[in-house]
Amino acid sequence: MLSGPSFETKMERVSETEMLLNMGPQHPSTHGVLRVVLKLDGEVVTGAAMDLGYLHRGVEKLAENRTYGQFTILTDRDDYLCAMLNNWSYALAVEKLLKVEIPQRAEYLRVIVGELNRIASHLLFIGTFGIDIGAFTPFLYAFGREREMILDLFEQLCGARITYNYVRIGGVSNDVPDGWVEKARKFVAHMRNCLKEYDDLLSYNPIFMDRTKGIGVLKKEMAISYGVTGPNLRASGVPMDLRKDAPYGIYSKFQFTAAVRQNGDCWDRYMVRRDEIAESCSILDQALEGLVAGEIMGKVPKANLRPPAGESYAQLEGARGVLGVYIVSDGGLSPYRLHLRAPSFINLAMLQDMLKGWKVADVVAILGSIDIVLGEVDR
């Protein structure tokens, strides 16, 4: 039903000159199953409401009858484009409960896989955002070539290409195979050259810039009031990056700058991610250089892991924003309650205000530029 009671309250009233239009749930630019109900006056959007839950799997509830070790594989399926960072944020929360020390080598490996996964996630954004705007070619380079290289590296490291189950409670699951560090170094060098190609193909293409510059402006105040985090917030001129502001792991050891842009339009949101790839490359250089020898697993019981009763919240800078995990433990084998702070879900909320006043054709550009993953939105 288009005009169910819930949508009428969200959209106020639909006047005689306006119409409701369903975008999705099966729409190629929603990157998943998301329904956006648009209220249109001619070609101008006057209201928008999101309809979520098509991909809901009840991950938070499933955690309550899985052991702590078993739940890691479900975090993989949460935001499936940066599963390493999901694993990591969950491991951080449990480690906080256990008060366990992580070996240095494991910390370095976490940073390496985390940054590689951040690059992979941003590459997918660059590719699909191009498609949303109408440029197909960058997708073949970003998604089909560079991202595949990262997935190959992950496959050699842990055996899987999407759902890694690599960052475990207390450390990481595998040490690097022979020659892996060299391959990763080679990839970082290759990635730097590729950024120039993306600039030629997409970033500074006048058609692309016309479609994105000045479109979907997100004001600094609005971004903060909606709780937006990650690249979307940094594109609006707020230099908030947890890797800098509240360093977790060993991020305080690395020299880097948070990519910030000032205008908050679609092009800035794109460019922040493009800059972040370069920034991740420099972190990777330092991490691969500093990779120390040693253990990869801390002192954590392999079976019957029972963290002491209590609660913990851990957060890290995911590819889409602040990725938080809140765990309440009653001292048993599985969490009493687990909550995931999914950045995509929170970033999506601002869309209802952001779309107002823009043309229908811009909706796709704006939706694409905030880079949501529906697996994480619906959880």
């Binding site: 078993q70 594989i73 380079y141 055996g159 759902t163 190609e197 030629d200 293409n205 058609i207």
Partner: protein, 178 residues
């Protein structure tokens, strides 16, 4: 008017710059793989379909407890003579398997009685076919670790008139012709 022509010039230049990238790649080696005629070699750590060896298994049920999606089940009988457990049957539901390697990691036998293979081309037309069972008294079809599953998969292919060739669970994959 001047602004208009400048715009036309800018857009044309943008197009040519982009096409320049394409042109450069025309002379670089291709990265496309003609699957299924060519296959990439997988890493040794690749987590493909699970294989099971009933003759090694000691029925300790560690894998059953480790599995997050409860896809493994087994039954065993206590042998009064040897004071050990004898395996009656062992089932893996591939429709539920997460390919997470938790079962392989906890398996106490050497070599591992349950482990991942490099098989990734697993598809069945019947949901019941996803449940594989192994019994120690039933001989395993020869060929690979993956014998029984593979036999069932082949039989299905033959029924459909397709001649399927395995890429082998331990050999590096060469280009395979269909």
């Amino acid at each position: 008017m001047g602004a208009y022509f400048k715009k036309v010039y800018d857009v044309a230049r943008g197009l040519v710059t982009g096409l320049g990238v394409t042109l450069r790649h025309l002379f670089l080696p291709s990265i496309t793989v003609q699957y299924p005629h060519e296959k990439l070699s997988l890493s040794d750590r690749f987590r493909g379909a699970l294989a099971f060896h009933p003759e090694i298994c000691i029925s300790c049920e560690m894998c059953v407890r480790a599995c997050p999606s409860a896809c493994i089940s087994l039954e065993s009988k206590r042998n009064e003579e040897t004071k050990k457990k004898d395996l009656s049957w062992y089932k893996i539901d591939f429709g539920k398997c997460n390919y997470c390697r938790l079962c392989e990691e906890v398996c106490p036998t050497k070599p591992k009685s349950v482990h991942h293979t490099k098989e990734y081309e697993l598809s069945f037309t019947n949901r019941n076919d996803f449940v594989m069972d192994w019994r120690p008294d039933v001989a395993q079809p020869a060929g690979s670790d993956f014998g029984q599953i593979w036999a069932r998969f082949m039989a299905q292919g033959q029924k459909a008139g397709i001649n399927i060739k395995s890429n082998g669970s331990s050999t590096p994959s060469d280009p395979v012709a269909f």
